[in-house]
Symmetry: D3
Subunit: 320 residues, 6 copies
C-alpha cells in the first residue's frame, strides 16, 4: 500500500513546500483537501477548473516530488439545515468530483452530512438514542426525506463524471457514523458508496475496526491512519466528548498513529487479506503532541507497519 | 433504606390493586408518576389539586397497605423546543410540586429537559460531540439561554412551595445526562438541584456509579434501582442505541436489577457511607424478561441487597 | 421452558424411584437414555419394542409423576471403525428412533460419531490439526466416505419414522464437535440435523455459546444444562484433557450448573429470543461434588434461571 | 545467545546463496534441515556420509560466511503406523545423528512422532481427550508399546554416536506436544531427551512458556523463535485448527516473531536466568506476511531482543 | 465440614446466650477465644484451669446447644519486644494449650508474633522490603535469634501436652504472613506447625489461596471463612493499609463472606480434594455492614457453600 | 525535557570518563550523587566545599561534554534511629544543599527517612498496617515527634541557602512512600517539599503514576525514569519483596525503562500537560540485564519517548 498524508495538515505552507517536506518523510501520495470543514488552501476545485493551468502546475509539483494523488477530499455537510451552508458544502463536493474527473482520480472522500431534526430546524441534529420519541422521529425524517434522496442524486452526478467511489468517513456528528449507518446508506443508494476506513472513529464507539474489514472487505474505498485512546477513568464518560479535544474530561481522544490503542498490526493483515491496494493516508491529529514531531513520527510508523502479504515479494531477495 | 417501586409499571391497574400487589412483594414505599413521558394514570396532580378528596383517598389507600410516598415524579421535557409540548410538561412539573406541598413530600423527580439547537428549531437536539462547531454553539445556546434561566425560575417556584429537592435523573437525550452536566446545572442554579441516582444510565457511558456517590455524597436526593448490560460485540457500538430497547444491534440495554453488570453491592456500601436514608426505588425495565416475573424478582433482589451499615442494628439480635 | 433431567444419572435406581425422586425436585420432563455410551438401564428400545406393555408401563410411571419425555438419547458412535462396535451403536440409534415413533417423541439426541483415519483402521481418530498432511487426509476421508453417507441414509430412516429432529451434541472426540462441523454436516445432509445445545462443550474450546444461539436460532433442537470451568494455570494446557475428569492437570473440567464459568443468564435470554420451547435438560457431571447434592442443586439452579420472555405472563399477576 | 535461522526457509536457494543472505542479516548460526517433513534440500545426511567431500564443502561455506551450525534437524514421524513412512523418517533421524557425529554437533532436533491407535491402524492418531474409552486405550498403547520402546532404543544409538541431546519440539499432532508429555518421555527414556523450546506451540494451548522455562531450566536443549496469535472471536474455537494456516476460521495462527502475542522479553530473561547458551533459531512461518520481509524482520527483532544478563558485559563499555 | 464461628464476635454476651444465638443460625462448632488481642471474655484458660468446674460448665453449655469446639485461639504476639507484653501473650498461649489438653482439643490457633528489629528495640518491626540493608539485617535477627528458638521451645511444650497442631494465621504485621514465611518456620521447627488457612489475608497480597491449598494440602490445620476486597483506584495503593479498616483511602478491606472477591467455590473444592475435615470457622469482620446482619448472613453463606465431595453422600438420597 | 542519567551507576569510573560515556549516549544532564546510600564517589560536597577548585573542575568537565546538572542527590535516612547513622546522612544532605547553593542548582533529591518505632529503638520501622495497635502508635510517634519537626527545620535551612525544591523520592522503606504520605509531609512543612516522581515505586503498590501527575501537576520537582514489573504468579505475593532484587520469589522487580509495565507514553503526555520542564533522569536498575547494555538502551528509549507537546515546535520544520 502507498504511504499518503492528508495534506491539509500543511495548509499554511505553499503546496510545493508541503510536498517537498512530505517527500522527505518518504511519503508516496497526498490526499488533497478540496473543501468542506478542513478547507481548500492547496486546491480550490472551482478555481482550478476555471484555470486549468493551475491543474497542470499541481501535477508538475507532484511529479517533481514523485507523489501521487491518493484522493480528493471534501469533508463537509451538504445536507446542513442552513440552506446557505449546505449549498457551499454541496458545491465543494461537486466541484471536487469535477476536478477528480479532470485528474483521473477515482475516489472522493467526504462525510454523509447531518440534517436538522425537521424541515424547519436550523441546526444539525445528530441522534444516538431512541427515546423520547422525538429522536426516533428525527432519524426517520433525516434518512427518508433528506439523506437518501440527496445521495441518490449525487450518486448519479458522480457516476456521470467518472468517479467510481464516494468514500464516506464514518464520523460522529454525521448520520453515517458507524458500519450500520454506512451500510444503510449504501443499501439505499448503491455501491458507489463505500468506506473511508478510519479506525479512530470506530474504536472508541466499541466497534472493532478489524471486524468491519472482515465483514466488508470489498467496500474499503480509502483508508485513514489515525489512532485513538479511550481514557475512561470512571468520571469522564464516553459521551463526554462534547468537551474539546485535549480536554482530559473527555472519555477518549485522538492520538498520533502508534501512540493510541488501535491494533494496526491486525488492520494491516486484514487490509492485505481484503486485497486493498489503496493508500494508507495519515490524517494527523493529536492534542498532546507537537505536529511536526508527530507528522514525521506518523509517517515512520506507517512505513514500518505496512508489510506485504504472503507471496507479494516472492523471490525478491534473490532476484535482484 | 426503604424498598420502593416506581408505580407507573402498574398503571394499567387501579391504584388500589397496584398497591395491594406491591405490598404483597414487601414494598414499603411508592414513587408516584405525576406526569411527563411515563404518564399520570394513578395520580393527575391538576385533577387531585382540584378535587382534594382524591388526595385523601390516595392517602387512605397508601395507609391501608402501609406504604409511604417515596417521591412524586414528572419525567418530562419542560424546555422542549415545541412550545405546546413544553407547556404541558412544565405544568406537569409545577402541579407535581404543588401536590407535593399538599402531601408533605419533599422531593420531586424529573429530567432537565433538552431544548432545540437554536430558538427557531422545533426538535430537541442532544449534543455529545464538540465538532463541527455547530455542536459547540448549540450547547452554549441551550445552557445559557434556555436551561439555566428556566431552572433558576423553577428553583424559586419549588422553594416557595416547600419542596426541598429536585432530583434530576441523569439521562441520555437530555442536557443533564452525566455527573458533569448535573453539577454544571447545580452550580448555576443552587443546591435545590441534586441527583436521582440511577446507576443504569451512568454505567454504560463508562461512568462509575460508585465514584459518583463518593464524589457527591450529599447530593443524592433519590435513588432508582435499575440495571444495565453492555453488550458490545465489536459490531454494535455504544452509540448504536438509536435502535429500540431489546434490539440486539444496540451496544447496551436495560436489565432487571441483578441481571446486569452493575455492582449493587458497592452501591449499597457507598449509599450507607453517604448516610443516604431515602428510598431504593425500583424502576423496572427489561426487554428480555416478563414484567411480572421481573417485578417480583427485582423487589426480592433489592430486599436482599439492602444491608444495614455498621452499628445500625447494634445489639438488635439480643435486645429483642 | 420445561425443567428436565437426563435420567441416566439415576440408572442404578428403578425407573419409578428415579421418577419419584426427580418429581420431588420439581422436574417436569425426563430425557431417557436408550443406548450408546451412557447405557439403557431404564429403557432398552429393542426390548420395549418387542414388549409393548413395557412402553405402557413407562408411560404410566411418567404420568404418575406428571413427567413428560424431553427426548430419547443414544450417545453412541455408529461410525466406529470396529464394525461390531459400530453395529451395536447403529442399532441403538435406529431402535431409539422406532421407539420415539411409538411414543410420539419428535427428537432423538445423539453424537455424530468418529470413524478411523482410513478404511483399515480399528480406532476412532479425532482430528484437530491440519498438519502433517496425514491429518488433513483423514478429515477428508472421514467426512466424504463415512460420515456424510451414513447420516444421509439415517436421515431417510428417521424421516420415514416420523422423527423430526436429530439433535447432535457437539462433543470433542467426535467429528461434530463445534458449530462449524455441525453446520457442515447439516449442509450436507439436511435440516433434520440440528443441535443438542450443550454449552459446556463449546465454552472451553473458546466458542461463545450465546453467539452460537444468535447465529442459528432455528437449529436448537434440544438443550443440555451443564457447566464447565477453564482451569488453565500456565502449566496444564487446554489440550491436557487426555487426563481423566477431576484430575487437576487438565485445563478444564465439567461443573454442576452455576458452579462454573458459563453465563447462563445470557443463554436463557437468547433461547427466549430464539423462541426455543424445548426442555432445559440437566446432564449432571462434576468430579468435585457429590452427585445427590449436585442433582438437587442443579435442578434448583435451573428453575431459578428460567425466566419468561417479555409478555409471556402478561397480566398474569392480576388475572389469576 | 547466537542468532540462528532454520535454513529450510531458503531451501529453494543453493546453500551458499542462502548462507550469504543470512549472513547479510546478521545471522551467526544455521539450523540445518536433514530430513523429516521440512526436507533435506541443503543437506542429505545419507548422501553427505557417502561423500565426505560434501561435508567439507558445507563446512567451508559456513566458514566463509562466519556461520556456525546451531543444530541438525529432522522433524519426522519415525513411529508412523505406515511402516514404509516410518522407516524413511527413522533413517533420516539416524543419518542425521551420524552426520552430527562427524560434524561434532551435539544436538539433533526432532519430533517424538505419533503412532496409530493400535497395531493394525494405518494413520497416526493424536489424542487429546480421555473419553470415550477408545482414546484412553489408544494413549496407553501408543506410549507403552511404541513410543517408549522406540526412543529407548534410539537413545542408545544417539549416545553411541556422541550426540548428547535429542531436542524434541513439543508439537500438536505428535505424542509429545506439551511439557507434561515431554517429561513423561524423558522420565521413561533418560536425560538425553530435552526440549526444543518453541513457545509458539505452547502459547495457544494455554501453557505459559515462561513457566516451562522456570520449571525445567536444565532441559532446554534448543530454542526456536516463532510467534503465535490466539484469534478466538467466539465463533472459531481453539480446536478449529484443522483448518489450514492463514484461514481465519482457525482459533490461532503462527506469526512472525514480534507480530504475535508471545512475551519474548520474559522468555529472554528466563533463558538468561537458566544460563541457556544455545542458539535462538528463527523458524519463520506467517501466513499473512511476505517471507522475505518476514525473514529480515524476524532477524532484526531477535537481535534487538537478545540482551545480556546482569554482569555479562562487565566493564565492557570502558575496557574496549 | 462443620460450620463454626469464632465466638469473640459475641464476647459482650454471656457464653450461654452466644451459643444459643449461634445454634439458631445452624452453627455446629465454636472457635473459642482464649487470649491474645481478641481477648478471653468467654474463656480465660488460667481461670478455667484453676476452677475445673468452669470447664464442665462450658462443656455443658456446648452440649446443650449441640456445639463442638472447633479450636482454641490465642492470637497474640508472644515475641513482642516489650518483655511484659510478650510474657502475657506467652502465658495466654501456654494456658490455652493446657486447657486444650484438658478438653481433648488438638488444635490451637495463634500468630507467629513479631519481634523488634534488634534486642534493644521496644516496638515490633514488620519487614517487607530488603533495602536499605537495615531491613535485611532485621529479618535475619528476628528469625534466627527470636522466632525460631521460641517456637522450637513451644513446639516441645505443645507436644508434651497432647496438642497436635499449632495453626498459624498468616497475618500481615507478624513474621509469618504468607506461605513462604509459614513454610520457613515449619521447616525450622517441625510439622506441629501448620496453617490456619484464612484466605482474606492472602488474597490482597496477590497470593492465590487455592494455589496455597494445592501446594500444601496436608498442612491445613484450621480454616477461617473471611472475605476481602481489593479497592485499588489508582490513588489508594496496596500499602495504604496503615489507615484503619473502613477508611476508603485503604487499598483493600475485609468483607463479610460472599461480599468480597474471594472465590470460595474453588476453595471448597480444593479443601475437599485435600480431604480437609476440620471446621469452616467464620471470623466476621466488615466495616461496612452491621454485625448482626453480617453474622447471620455469613453463616447462611457458609452453609450454602459447603458441598460434599464426589461420593460423600453416595446413595444417600435413596437409602434414607 | 532534558535527558539525564543518575550518574552513580558509573561511580567506578572517573567523573570525566563517566561524562564522556554519557555524552556519547546523547545525555544532556547528569544527576550527581552527593551522599546517602548510593554514595558520593564523583562528588563529596564536604570535600568540594573545602576545595572550591574541585567545583570548578567539575564544572569544566560538564562543560566539556555539554552536560548540565539535573540535580544533586543524597538518598539517605537522616532520621535513622541510630544517632551516628542519622548524623552522617544529615550532614550529607546539608552539605549537598550548600554545594547546590554554590552551583546555582535549585533542586536536591532525597528520601524522607524512616525513624524507629519509639525513642529507644535502634532500627528503622516502616509501617504499612494499622493493627495491632503497636503500628498505629509507631506511625503517630514517627510523624509527630520526628519526621515533621526534622523537615520543618531543614526547610528553613534549605530556604536560607537558595535551594527551592526538596524532591522526595516516594520509596518503600521510608515514611514518605506514596502520594498520601508525601502530601501529608508537604502539608505539614510547606511547598519546598515536592516529588521526585519515580513511577517505578508507585506502580507496584497499585498507585497510578499518571493519576499522581494529574492530581499534583505543580509538585513535580524532579523525575526518575525507571521501570518495574509486577510478577505475581499466585505464589509470590506483593509483600514478598523482602527477598532481594532479582529473586523470582519476589512479587515485583525493577526493570530497565521500556522493559517493564509502566506506561511511559501517558507519563510523558501528563508531564507535558503539567508543563514540567525538568530533567528525565534515568536511574538504572535491572537485576536481569547487563548494565552497559541497559544504560545505552535506557537512554535511547528515553530519547524516543520524549516528544514535545502541541505547539512546541511550531513551524520548526519550515522555519529552519
Amino acid at each position: 500500500m502507498k504511504l499518503s498524508v492528508f495534506a491539509v495538515l500543511l495548509q499554511d505552507q505553499p503546496f510545493d513546500k508541503a510536498c517537498e517536506y512530505l517527500a522527505s518523510l518518504g511519503v508516496q501520495a497526498v490526499e488533497i483537501g478540496c473543501g468542506g470543514f478542513p478547507g481548500k488552501a492547496h486546491c480550490d476545485p472551482k478555481d482550478f477548473l476555471a484555470h486549468p493551468e493551475k491543474i497542470d502546475q499541481m501535477k508538475a509539483t507532484l511529479e517533481k516530488y514523485h507523489l501521487e494523488i491518493a484522493a480528493l477530499s471534501t469533508h463537509g455537510n451538504a445536507v446542513h439545515p442552513d440552506k446557505a451552508v449546505a449549498k457551499a458544502f454541496h458545491e465543494d463536493f461537486e466541484n471536487a468530483v469535477l476536478l477528480a474527473e479532470k485528474l483521473g482520480v477515482d475516489t472522493v472522500v467526504t462525510f454523509s452530512g447531518c440534517p436538522g431534526g425537521c424541515p424547519e430546524d436550523k441546526t444539525p441534529n445528530w441522534v444516538t438514542c431512541p427515546w423520547p420519541d422525538d429522536f426516533t422521529n428525527i432519524v426517520n425524517y433525516q434518512w427518508n426525506e433528506v439523506l437518501i434522496p440527496y445521495w441518490k442524486k449525487e450518486a448519479e452526478f458522480v457516476k456521470a463524471h467518472g468517479v467510481k467511489k464516494i468514500a464516506f468517513e464514518m464520523h460522529p456528528g454525521f448520520c453515517v457514523y458507524n458500519p450500520e449507518t454506512l451500510m444503510k446508506l449504501r443499501n439505499a443508494v448503491g455501491p458507489v458508496i463505500g468506506a473511508n476506513f478510519d479506525p479512530s472513529h470506530l474504536f472508541w464507539q466499541g466497534v472493532d475496526p478489524v471486524k468491519f474489514l472482515k465483514a466488508f472487505p470489498d467496500r474499503i474505498y480509502h483508508c485513514h491512519i489515525k489512532d485513538a485512546e479511550v481514557t475512561l477513568d470512571g468520571e469522564s464518560g464516553i459521551l463526554s466528548s462534547h468537551f474539546n479535544f485535549g480536554d482530559d474530561r473527555r472519555g477518549w481522544d485522538f492520538r498520533s498513529p502508534g501512540h493510541g490503542q488501535i491494533n494496526f498490526e491486525e488492520i494491516i493483515r486484514e487490509l492485505n487479506r481484503a486485497n486493498y491496494q489503496g493508500p494508507l493516508s495519515v490524517e494527523w491529529e493529536d492534542a498532546g503532541m507537537d505536529q511536526w514531531f508527530g507528522a514525521a513520527d506518523a509517517c515512520a510508523f506507517t512505513r514500518r507497519l505496512d508489510f506485504a502479504p504472503a507471496g507479494a515479494l516472492f523471490d525478491a531477495a534473490f532476484k535482484k
